[in-house]
Amino acid sequence: MQSLRLRAILALLIVLVGLAYMLPSLPGVKDSALGKILPGNGINLGLDLKGGIHLTLGVDMKTAMDNNLARLGDDLKASAREQEVYILRPTVLNETEIEVTLIKAEQKDAFEGVIKDYSPFAVEQSAQLDGDKVKYVLSVPATYRSEIEKLTMDQAIKTMRNRIDQFGVAEPDIRKEQGNRIQVQLPGLKDPERAIKIIGQTAHLEFKMVDDAADLKKAQQGILAPGRELSVLLHRQPNGSYSESPIVLRKDAVLTGEYVSDAQVRLDQWNNAYVALTFNARGAKIFTDLTTDNVNKRMAIVLDGKVYSAPVIRERISGGKASITGSFTREEARDLAVVLRAGSLPAPVTILEQRAVGPSLGQESINNGIMSAMVGMAAVLGFMIIYYGFGGVVADIVLVLNIMLIMGGLAAFGATLTLPGIAGIILTIGMAVDANVIIYERIREELRRGLSAKQSVEEGYGRATLTILDANVTTVIAAIILYQFGTGPIRGFAVTLTLGIITSMFTAIFVSRILFDLYLKHRADNAKLSI
């Protein structure tokens, strides 16, 4: 009893802190003078309430690994050539192995030295072929693979972040999920398809020489000279769609998007949009040499395996500038410039999961949620007063405090309020009175046994507290598991449920006891208790 003042001060402090965090969530308060001195920015709304897009993207690790091995193989070939050891173009066997053929058997030792010095490969097996050739199967260690996976994921996330930043979305959330998955959340975005296109485009840019001497008919039947490949050239139609025609390219890319330092949208004299590229120093030199050596030949600009244009090189181009024309719309050109500036994804991605909620549905959900919470709460508040009299008033006061503390808690911990989260709060309203009901029923029993009001309150709280703790722990267990296994909105539900249980214990056991003690403090021992 003597600690009543202390308890009251403590409760008041906690309530004030809760209030300070809660208030900025109310419309109007955040931008007012009061809002500026209060901590926090109010409650984060989930995508289901704000509207926006939730994406889960899967990174194609097999392709990433294949690309990586192919590049390693090319590097190995180049390193060997510097030592005057000659091998045929390596082929990728699977995600950990490549096959290379050494042309002269007497260079075996020299070649194995090159492998050791310049690559992560180890010789898996080698076999002498007819003539003078040796066939090698080379493999990378398992640790190398996991390292590449990690690098690929990090690079993919970084690239996506760069692209989204340029796209101008407030508070995007991009994170790595288990199993080579990336989760992207874009709140408040109205045009989901365009965002998906920008995020998901691999944007692998290559410049390749066109083989105009090749026979297109034969190429389409699959007859190609070595080092050549069949591709498609896109032609834009007046209605915006593309038609395709076949084109034969040299396989080796003469220049890639890695050397691009900037990409901008420009308009030509007919007001058609095109993308102007600027190469970095190294790229500019390669481009100059390339155009010098290939005047009057065609060079294809290949993006993700499709040829957007194949202009004829009229003269040597120095200064490191090139352009991609393809009569894009301005929006298309802008999006292309964005993805080229941000760099290419290290591997293709596929959209595994997509949830897009329109802003109007979000607003409607908030309104419905708040409306049902209000009505539900009003019904419970009224019922408690009718049923318990003074006790009901106390229960109602702490219930309102409880809701306030949940909102304050959500804001303070930076948790996200989702639609199921609102349901969690509403459920908490129902369950929060449980603690008070347990206590009050106990007090009634003690009163019936003939104890005084003060003794009954003491006994009631004492006996009920452990029961309440026991009962709530199981709900918390369920909530923690929900948090652990759930995603997005489900987690929001788990958070509000847990928070609701903790705050309801504080308000229904601790604060309501203070109110009872205050009420009984100056009353005679034989006073009646309205409960």
């Binding site: 289901d48 899967g58 989901p192 398809e193 998906i196 959209i351 997509q354 949830r355 909620v357 329109g358 109007s360 549905l361 959900s365 419905n368 949620g369 049902s372 009505v375 539900g376 019904a379 419970v380 009718i386 049923y387 009299g389 006790g391 009901g392 639609l419 199921p420 349901a423 509403i426 459920l427 309203i429 129902g430 369950m431 009175v433 449980d434 009901v437 347990i438 029923e441 009634r444 009163l447 019936r448 452990l466 029961t467 026991d470 009962a471 199981t474 709900t475 267990i477 369920a478 909530a479 598991i481 929900l482 652990q484 296994f485 759930g486 995603t487 489900i490 539900f493 449920l497 309205s530």
Partner: protein, 354 residues
């Protein structure tokens, strides 16, 4: 003193009518299982089955058939059109099982088809696509969540309730071992959970953890009835329904524990004076007011959620409505009679007899 619904001297014989209660429960569970069997398992929403849904809100009342006709020409694979939420909402779900077309195509096509064929204003409010791989992952995650919830709660009750943490630890270890062993056989997650539940129940029975046994049986009972009724009503299972089921698990136990707590208290206080059946009856009657009041207020707010919460939350609220009703019933008519059937399971009592 305020109002009273249950008079303090009420003494209903709950144990006496346990057979009727068991029949009621058995009928409900069998009906649900029967429905599941006929329909070939639960009806999964796109969260678990994969596919695409488009939620459309229309300005005026219009039949499901009309909407179906409007989008029929698109020849979307596995096309299903259903209403969402309450009557007056005019909200519909267009669902397709396709994974070959992009969400962009679906959005523009549906937009076009509705503009052409529907003489009413509409708005595409939501589009969700879940790939088959993610769907399968979400399904096993959800089952895992239910499984761990039951496991942890059984362990907690045994430990906290009967002061037998050692027995609880034995049970946890045996369960983990058993489940790991079955996992090696590469069985489906559904079987894994079934086996885990059988192990849990078997261990509770063998170790005489009768409070835990009663509570776990009651919560399995509640989840089975809710799942069964959802199947009978042709409702789909998605992630929010799993959240509702876990909430029901929490709520059902909450209710059961409060009754059990009183039984334990009365057993200690009135040992030798009353039979165990009388103690249980007394305890259930003493806590009856609280049980009805709390369930009443909770149902009241969930009902508000059901009626006014909007289309997205509708089925979630329905699951809670069913679950809370069944959970309240089970703590009185299922959990306590099972505890009665197996005895108070106080270790010192068995030692005294021995």
């Amino acid at each position: 003193m305020g109002l009273q619904i249950i008079k303090p001297d009420t003494n209903l014989d709950f144990i006496g009518i346990r057979k009727i209660a068991f029949i009621v429960s058995a009928v409900l569970i069998l009906a649900g299982l029967g429905s599941l069997a006929i329909k070939g398992g639960p009806k999964y929403g796109i969260d678990f089955a994969g596919g695409m849904i488009v939620q459309v809100k229309i300005d005026k009342a219009i039949g499901v058939g009309d909407i179906k006709d409007a989008v029929e020409e698109l020849k979307l694979p596995g096309l299903v059109v259903q209403t969402l939420g309450l009557e007056g909402d005019h909200e519909y779900l267009i669902r397709t099982s396709s994974s070959n077309i992009t969400s962009e195509e679906v959005r523009t096509k549906i937009n076009q088809a509705l503009t052409d064929n529907l003489k009413a204003g509409f708005e595409i409010q939501r589009l969700e696509m879940v790939g088959p791989k993610v769907g399968a992952d979400l399904r096993s995650q959800a089952l895992e969540a239910l499984f761990y919830a039951v496991l942890l709660i059984a362990v907690y009750i045994s430990g906290r309730f009967e002061q037998r943490w050692t027995a609880a630890a034995v049970m946890a270890a045996a369960l983990a071992g058993g489940v790991y062993g079955i996992g090696l056989l590469g069985l489906d997650m559904g079987w894994l959970i079934l086996v885990a539940l059988v192990i849990t129940l078997g261990l509770c029975w063998y170790l005489k953890l009768n409070y835990a046994l009663g509570a776990v049986v009651a919560l399995i009972h509640d989840v089975m009835i809710t799942v069964g009724l959802f199947s009978i009503m042709n409702k789909e299972f998605d992630l929010t329904i799993i959240a509702a089921l876990l909430t029901i698990v929490g709520y059902s136990l909450n209710d059961t524990i409060i009754v059990f707590d009183r039984i334990r208290e009365n057993t200690n206080a009135k040992q030798g004076k009353l039979t165990f059946g009388k103690i249980i009856n007394l305890s259930v009657n003493q806590t009856l007011s609280r049980t009805i009041l709390t369930s009443g207020t909770t149902l009241l707010v969930v009902l508000c959620l059901y009626v006014m919460g909007g289309s997205v939350i509708h089925d979630f609220a329905l699951a809670l409505l069913i679950g809370i009703t069944v959970g309240t019933y089970s703590s009185i008519f299922v959990a306590s009679p099972i505890l009665y059937g197996f005895g108070p399971s106080e270790p010192r009592e068995t030692e005294a007899e021995a």
